[in-house]
Amino acid sequence: MLQLSPEEIAETLTMITQQHFDIRTVTLSLSLTGCAADTVEGVAERIYERVTQSAEKLVETCERLAREFGVPIVNTRVAVTPVAEVAPAGAADLTPIAHALERAAQAVGIDFIGGFSALMHKGIGAADRALVASLPGSLSTTERVCASVSVASTRAGINMDAILLTADAIVETAQATAHRDGVGCAKLVAFCNVVEDNPFMAGAMHGAGEPDACVNVGISGPGVVRAVVRSLPDDADLTAVAEAIKATAFKITRAGELIAREAASRLGVQMGIVDLSLAPTPAEGDSVAEVIEAIGVERCGGPGTTTALALLNDAVKKGGAMGTSSTGGLSGAFIPVSEDAGMARAAATGALSLEKLEAMTSVCSVGLDMIAVPGDTPVETLAAIISDACAIGVVNNKTTAARIVPVPHKGPGETAYFGGLLGSAPVMSVNEWAGVRLVRRGGRMPAPLSALRN
């Protein structure tokens, strides 16, 4: 007996066929425990074997799931233990490991592999230093490898030395990929309060508290949410808007939960988490900025944007939390400039500034994301921008991050083209009165009082 109404069935079909509803990523998260070796080449070889053996059936399984359930799975990816954690003692160049990750990703047919990472929020180890030094060479000679660094946390404060080291690596990576508008930097993200189970790139990694392997799923759905908000009457009040988003987020999350369970079961690994982030793509209509505009802001970035985003983010979490008991990852709306056509348009028209994005990061997920800035932005300014994002995260006990691309030879008003899912973005102007002396002081900004919670 059909216990679903034809309307409910039609609603799901419309979400998929007309509103860009999909599962954004199924990420197989793998521990690299056991991949340690005496040499970099030895580690690289073991990591290659670990990834290719464990993820051999990942793509095929996800393609099959998408067909059976009729829900597109846009990306299948792999995340690994932060590579600096398994680097051999005394290694100076970890590029061979990045190349092994690239080959492994290619062999199993995935577009990105995350975890070329170092955790430095409290201190910089020798392996962390080696990994950061290897970033420009690694990111400029690979396509699929994603890197991340942890530079601050509520418990540890802000490690300015780590931020400066990262900012140097960003500048060098941009120069090493200057012919492609500094695209290497699009694969490098600096985190505050990094999460251990993030399925989204570029920041996906396999945390120390995770099982040997698990499946983490990232949902999508800005297009569906926008359609629902647009379908409301003009005089629907904010509670009604929140209610509609909440109900939609529930449905989206349930599909994510189902796919996560099935994928884990078929791959023979534990189900990890469902990340409740609304993740946009450059496709028209699949935009978080357009949801904000549908709620009632003239152009994303204008006054009212932070309020609309706060409403959206909260409603998604409330609906999502009912849809799965395995919430995790970043679980907050993404506002990447280049990966969201509406954001890019708002930035190009001047409605959206770097400072507004910083304000927005306080009420959602990764805030300063995929931002193109002038190629001649000083390294101290980049460090100060990252540290401001971190300060919001540290004090408010939340994840924040920065993925900034100083686009070589381009200035404000010009456009950077990264290609594919990374999209394109207008180069945004940067406030020139940066805290150069602040960042050059170095050291660690102590953890805030709110860190003492026990």
Binding site: A10, E68, R254
Partner: protein, 91 residues
């Protein structure tokens, strides 16, 4: 293994849609458990609850056969596992 699935058919109304779809399902050993069908402004819409016997005919094979029917008759036909709808619309 038996898999419950929802079959949706949408397209311009014409003679033989139900026959073609149900005939193909029968050939694949798929059992029809419920059918709802309407025509609104000349648009044919049909929803079926079916059970696919994957030992008789694998799920993707049934989908491929239905895709042929969709192509022949100019229809939109989808066959999806029922769980996805149940998960999204029921707590």
């Amino acid at each position: 293994m038996k898999t419950r699935a929802i079959l949706s058919v949408l397209g311009e109304d014409r003679v033989g849609i139900v026959a073609a779809v149900s005939g193909t399902l029968a050939q694949c050993g798929v059992n029809i458990e419920d059918i709802r069908q309407t025509i609104l402004s000349g648009v044919f819409s049909m929803t079926m609850l079916v059970t696919v016997d994957e030992e008789a005919c694998p799920f993707d094979r049934v989908q491929a056969r239905l895709a042929e029917v969709a192509n022949d008759l100019g229809l939109q036909i989808t066959l999806q596992r029922e769980d996805v709808f149940r998960f999204m619309h029921r707590i």
